[in-house]
């Protein structure tokens, strides 16, 4: 392996030694050395002018960065509820056993580490895992068995069978966006012909709202950014897609990346930005190469770079930044912090990114799908777009569908489609509940399947997980509360502590120790989070608990003990160590259960 010094010098020389490079450099070091060696921290500290403690704090923050060496094969099983429903736990246990390794601890010979990670966005073809950052789909016992063989034989991941790494698009339903191909460069030509104001008017007319969840009008956002006076403006494409159960951006980046870049460039031309970033979640590392190639093709075609399409002064280029396993970095201000190389702690808002974003400059942050739609609107017009959908939710929307259905995958529907229609189309039978918009979203019972997916009724960032009647919904809830505990950035107390308390209480319900008093506490803490957490992660974290408490009360009540209070643990068992050490077994050496 290359010696650390020359590796770092190469890295610093090639991609810069400004402080904002920190995270990207750390990701590169992690990849090369399977951890961030102490000496690397010293060098980076000196060259980037960042104190070592600050570098430690960045390493601690991101789940994919480590101060201690990981195994040569670093394996992370995706742990979304959909992976669980497909049996990921057993597969992981089996793999651990075969390789004689404890979860989270590198094997003594340094060969392998195995652990769980948050949803990797392959819910339609799970269970999934990442090996050295690269996604492996459709895990079976057979596949695990083969992987174990390859690992023990020391075969590099690059030489593993290609079929392990096939990630299918799984597009099950196309509508106006996916049906209409965009000729490379046509949106930019349209900009040059019609002018920025006309395109902004098209966007306004189209009614396009952000596809990342909040639904802010894209035209308004671009206009606000353009009108904010500053020497630099930036465009950011939010490809962090960390919401459990969501994977439609994965498909767009795999097969429609050119349109996404076109949308970014269009935005750059309108708001006067010279630089754009695609923030790609670390879990989608396997897409990086094709994305880089697509960028290069666009540079070669004069659709990126200087004087785009021969237009004097139309300069714009795009850089891809990787994330490193932090869901909250999908929140736009945390994402900007992360782009600046720091920990992804959400900023105070206002000021909003449109006036003070990347490097405190006006910045448009848009979801992948928003940018793709914007490029099409620039070519086909606002009327074309608003011909589908509802008055407040125009156009079509991509949905990631997974869970208990025959045909999981990506579905494009006009806004306003009913949940029942979606369930019919994807072949969901005997459905108990639908989780709309991911872990942060809404739990919908059958009596509400008539509802329409639209900002006027139930809004959706584009994910729909299906649970049939055989499923225990509390397992879903617990999966989500664990997710939020794990992903909380820890900045504010309601989320850091409240999220943990809620998780512990749900666990207490699960093991059958909870009383109605605990349910009361759950509701109370949930309301505190909704009201007082600093960012959207914390305010939405209690949703699944509160929704299921309200709409599926039986999920909880049948597990409650009929007492005013019961501890979450077995008190008599808590004396076991003492009994053994003292050899006592008298009456005083036991505690009866309950109060």
């Amino acid at each position: 392996m290359q010696d650390l010094d020359s590796f770092l010098h190469g890295l610093l020389a090639e991609s810069g030694d400004t402080p904002d490079r920190l995270l990207q450099h750390l990701i590169a070091v992690q990849k090369q050395y399977s951890h961030i060696p102490y000496d690397a921290i010293q060098v980076l500290s000196e060259r980037l002018g960042i104190p070592p403690v600050q570098i430690y704090s960045v390493i601690e923050y991101y789940a994919f960065l480590h101060r201690n060496p990981r195994g040569k094969y670093d394996i992370r099983f995706s742990d979304n509820i959909t992976d669980r429903m497909l049996g990921n736990r057993l597969l992981m246990q089996g793999m651990c056993k075969k390789l004689a390794v404890e979860p989270g601890i590198p094997r003594d010979d340094g060969k392998v580490t195995i652990e769980m990670t948050s949803c990797t966005g392959l819910c339609d073809q799970g269970p999934a895992l990442l090996v050295n950052g690269i996604a492996v789909s459709k895990l079976t016992e057979m596949r695990i068995h083969k992987m174990v063989g390859l690992i023990e034989a020391g075969v590099p991941v690059g030489k593993w069978p290609g079929k392990f790494f096939i990630v299918e698009d799984n597009i099950q339903r196309r509508d106006m966006l996916l049906n209409k191909r965009l000729i490379k460069g046509s949106a930019l030509e349209s900009l040059l012909v019609k002018g920025a104001d006309a395109i902004l008017n098209d966007l306004d007319e189209s009614g396009l709202r952000g596809r990342g969840g909040a639904g802010f009008k894209a035209g308004t956002k671009w206009r606000l950014c353009r009108d904010a006076a500053a020497d630099e403006h930036y465009v950011v494409c939010n490809a962090d897609e960390g919401e459990p159960g969501t994977f439609k951006d994965r498909v767009l980046l795999n097969s429609y990346a050119d349109s996404v870049f076109e949308g970014m460039t269009l935005c750059g031309g309108i708001v006067g930005a010279r630089k754009g970033f695609l923030y790609l979640r670390g879990e989608y590392l396997y897409l990086l190469k094709t994305l880089e190639n697509t960028l290069q093709e666009r540079r070669d075609a004069n659709l990126l770079g200087n004087n785009i399409l021969g237009q004097e002064g139309f300069d714009f280029d795009i850089e891809i930044h990787l994330g490193a396993g932090a869901y909250v970095c999908g929140e736009e201000s945390a994402l900007i912090e992360s782009l600046e190389g720091k920990r992804g702690i959400p900023r105070k808002r206002p000021p909003f990114p449109v006036t003070s974003g990347y490097m405190q400059k006006p910045t448009v942050v848009n979801n992948v799908e928003t940018l793709l739609a914007a490029a099409r609107i620039a070519v086909y017009g606002g009327d074309w777009f608003r011909s589908a959908g509802t008055p407040e939710s125009t156009g079509t929307k991509l949905f990631s569908i997974s869970g208990d259905c025959e045909r999981p995958g990506v579905y494009e529907y006009p806004f306003g489609v009913t949940i029942r229609q979606v369930l019919e189309d994807c072949g969901a039978l005997d459905t108990q509940a639908v989780q709309l918009s991911g872990a942060a979203g809404f739990t919908i019972p059958p009596q509400e399947f008539y509802r329409q997916i639209a900002f006027e009724d139930v809004p959706s960032g584009g994910s729909l997980m299906v649970f049939n009647r055989q499923r225990d919904l509390l397992k879903m809830v617990l999966n989500f509360t664990r997710f939020f505990c794990h992903e909380s950035c820890g900045f504010c107390t309601p989320c850091r502590i409240g999220g943990r308390l809620m998780n512990d209480l749900v666990e207490k319900v699960m093991v059958g120790y909870a009383t109605s008093y605990d349910i009361h506490e759950l509701k109370k803490i949930g309301r505190v989070l909704q009201k007082s957490a600093h960012c959207g992660l914390g305010t939405t974290a209690p949703n699944a608990v509160l929704d299921t408490l309200q709409k599926f009360p039986g999920t909880y009540s049948r597990r409650l003990v009929n007492k005013s209070y019961e501890p979450a643990f077995n008190l008599d068992k808590a004396l076991e160590v003492s009994r053994q050490l003292t050899g006592r077994d008298d009456e005083e050496a036991h505690l009866r259960l309950g109060n």
Partner: protein
């Protein structure tokens, strides 16, 4: 915090007889009890308002029906569990007093180690230990494997933070409750920087 008080508030409004109060030290340092005594001469006023049931202050060892139980300390052993359960069963309002009762506090620092490690360090490998063995007299309560804040073992109605809560905090709390008022602390009493 205050919502739980409404029953007792209602009952105490216009009440002539005294409020019955019990206190117990579980696994703490007695500092919270000392702080209660720091109300100094106000204790004469206090006994006009409240009557003490079981408490180390009066040395009464058994508990009867009480309005308020004040608990200092975390739950570290089987006796603590018994005492705490007895208080819960007999007190209308149970109050966690001080960091140890509220969070586990100082005694919970042992939670970072296995109980076995702790006991062996104290009774077997420690410097100057004679006749090394873990004491097993039935009179000595067995330790729980971890120390818990009291709300993890019984339902708790009210929390008085501080290590210890100041004498003025106790005073404010007890006089407010005795008067049937909603308990409310000025910022200075619950501010610790």
């Amino acid at each position: 915090m205050v919502a739980q008080m409404s029953n007792i508030q209602q009952r105490n409004q216009g009440r002539k007889d005294k409020l019955i109060v019990a206190t117990a030290p579980l696994c703490g340092c007695f500092g919270c009890h000392m702080s209660l005594l720091d109300i100094d001469e106000r204790i004469f006023e206090l006994v006009e308002l409240v009557e003490f049931d079981r408490t180390p202050v009066t040395d009464i060892k058994t508990i009867g029906k009480c309005d308020i139980g004040l608990i200092e300390g975390g739950v570290a052993n089987a006796h603590n569990v018994h005492d705490l359960r007895e208080f819960r069963a007999n007190c209308d309002t149970l109050v966690a007093v001080g960091s140890c009762a509220v969070t586990g506090g100082i005694p919970a620092m042992r939670n970072q180690f296995d109980l076995k490690e702790c006991l062996e360090e104290a009774y077997i490998h420690g410097i100057g230990v004679e006749n090394p063995h873990v004491p097993n007299d039935v009179e000595i309560p067995l330790l729980l494997d971890k120390v818990h804040p009291i709300h993890e073992v019984v339902r708790v109605d009210y929390f008085l933070p501080g290590c210890p809560p100041s004498a003025d905090t106790f005073w404010q709390f007890l006089t407010d409750v005795a008067a049937g008022n909603e308990v409310s602390f000025p910022y200075s009493l619950i501010h610790y920087d």
